[in-house]
Symmetry: C2
Subunit: 362 residues, 2 copies
């Protein structure tokens, strides 16, 4: 189906110029000598890694992080000049795949290090992930100190760790993790070091080290919650109006009859629902924007449809085929997330596949 009058789908616009600008803004904040990578795991946080990563490469990014080998294999042909790191590293027996495909494994455990050494014989690059407080993936500090020298002889191109509380600038975990990481780095002169995610960049230049790893901020999530948003918005999600109906009392809207109509009203039904990643937790509390003003979501979010009260909206805008902003200038991704009781990251990574996706810019 082509886009146009006969297309009933809602439209998801992704601004690659904004993504590139966000990357440059972050890279420009770094202390001298530090560089910015890009985290493009989870399909570039739901925005389409195959479309987003090449735009970042054109902006100057060389180091890219994905979560799984499959994500790496998808991007490898699109990023011929890049260093492509796979955060979960090789499963036992998959080391050869990394060598053959030129993927850089992030080694997270003593077993992964040993298996990698056996296969790579020190001839292929790897990264070492030391856990400094997440207790999720990564070697213990003792294991890292013990094993890193064996990797360093060959091919250790990056030592990394991951911050647990970087969104809270005054959290004691931040300096504690930096201190632990430095213990390892002291034993690895000449190896590049990376600690900061998006929010970590804003903790100050001590955290920049050699390489930072922004993800969410590239895609318009505020890396400094509670302070002004430094990033450009990337996502515009326009919900297509399928029907506008006049409703009078007594009547209710949607499943469970949770929304009672209190006056003569107009209800717009929009082609998006929780199957498209619009959270069901926005039932009765979501908010769309139409012609620059908010319109309340009424009733429950259903699988394929949501309903807005457009009684007070301009009837020339609240019409079949028109659009209500589900994510846009008036309701950016962080605001939608806050209403839904989650974070912008989850809103982005859930964005559904029935939307008509448009890439602009770059």
């Amino acid at each position: 189906m082509t886009s146009g009058a006969a297309d009933p789908a809602s439209v998801l616009t992704i601004d690659r110029t904004a993504i590139a600008a966000n990357w440059r803004l972050l890279a420009g904040r770094l202390k001298s000598g530090a560089q910015a990578s890009a985290v493009v795991k989870a399909d570039a946080y739901g925005l389409g890694a195959a479309k987003v990563a090449p735009a970042l490469a054109r902006a100057g990014c060389v180091d890219f992080f994905v979560a799984t080998p499959e994500e790496g294999l998808e991007l490898k042909p699109l990023l011929p000049q890049a260093r492509l790191y796979v955060l979960e590293g090789p499963a036992p027996g998959a080391e050869g795949l990394f060598v053959e495909q030129g993927l850089i494994p992030v080694l997270n455990s003593a077993n992964q290090v040993e298996a990698w050494l056996a296969t790579s014989k020190g001839r292929f690059p790897s990264a070492l992930h030391v856990d400094t407080g997440m207790n999720r993936l990564g070697l213990s500090l003792d294991d890292a100190k013990r094993l890193a020298p064996r990797l360093a002889k060959g091919s250790l191109v990056l030592a990394m760790s991951h911050l647990a509380c970087s969104e809270e600038p005054n959290h004691p975990m931040n300096p504690a993790q930096l201190g632990r990481f430095r213990e390892l780095l002291a034993e690895l002169p000449g190896v590049r070091a990376s600690l900061a995610n998006s929010s970590g960049i804003f903790l100050g230049s001590d955290y920049h080290l050699d390489l930072v790893r922004p993800g969410a901020a590239l895609y318009g999530v505020n890396p400094t919650p509670g302070a002004a948003q430094p990033m450009a918005q990337v996502v515009h999600l326009q919900g297509r109006i399928l029907q506008v109906r006049d409703v009078d009392t007594p009547a209710t809207v949607g499943y469970g009859a949770t929304h009672a109509i209190g006056r003569k009203s107009r209800i717009a039904t929009v082609a998006a629902g929780y199957a498209d990643g619009y959270p069901r937790s926005l039932s009765g509390r979501g908010e769309g924007y139409l012609g620059g003003r908010a319109v309340p979501l009424v009733g429950r979010v259903s699988m394929d449809l949501i309903t807005f009260d457009v009684t007070d909206a301009d009837p020339h805008l609240a019409r079949v085929g028109g659009f209500i902003d589900l994510i846009g200038p008036g309701n950016p991704v962080d605001a939608v997330a806050a209403r839904a009781g989650t974070i912008g990251y989850e809103i982005l990574t859930r964005l559904g596949r029935r939307y008509r996706r448009r890439y602009i810019g770059d």
Copy 2:
């Protein structure tokens, strides 16, 4: 990547025999003369319409409902004998597509009816959706009464409405909606009628009419919340263990350092996160199953990873490459949904694309 030891992905198993059995169970409950369709919109509630719908056709299902024309176009070549209804109907200008492709539009508004009449000239089948209380899509009763006779002359093959409160057997909306719908049916002798979704089937034979439209129940969601689950489970989601670590006090797990370790513990990190549709709202309150016993999710759900406390689990099971049930016999989809603060429908439709999908049975 092939499945096996070197495959780090979590595994989503979908039991098509169970789906077919659920369809037969529901069809067998109906009053004499009533038939069961299948709702396969939203990619068969996230389970893969192209794999699921043909299994339902082999079980005897003839009538299928999708939400959008694109969903219909995907299934049309796979269901050559089926009647394929598109619930949102044609957008203005898309009527010709429905005719050409043999999709049956569900007409939801007076404008859709008029446009359909102009294009189809009464020579192609259509369904008419009358709103009886959802106030979402559908004609008003007055519009339906006025326009249905013009369609009926030609090709009206189904009159339908949709229940708002069918999960609550004693809700007054149920008989009220049935009564309104019968007002229309009285004027449409000989036209097949459909009102009941999964839960509506259990409201009794008055609601069966000619055709019922189960969706969620086919996929293992309990259509009778609060009463015994009559449906077979369909989904088994096994989270792959990427790493098992020993952690001692003082330590915390995950983002925000929300989980404090209180004793010598073992933490298993699993390859699934909110980017895979595992809800972030399960942070600190999810539950996996390992060897038949529950293991608590600890810390926050992150984008690609979740962490379980496996201190008390069998160490032969809590090992790298092993699996923790994220959805399974001990924690079926409704139970996971209840913990997450949502409904099974949302859990299913969110199931991510990084899982290794296995179809069994049929």
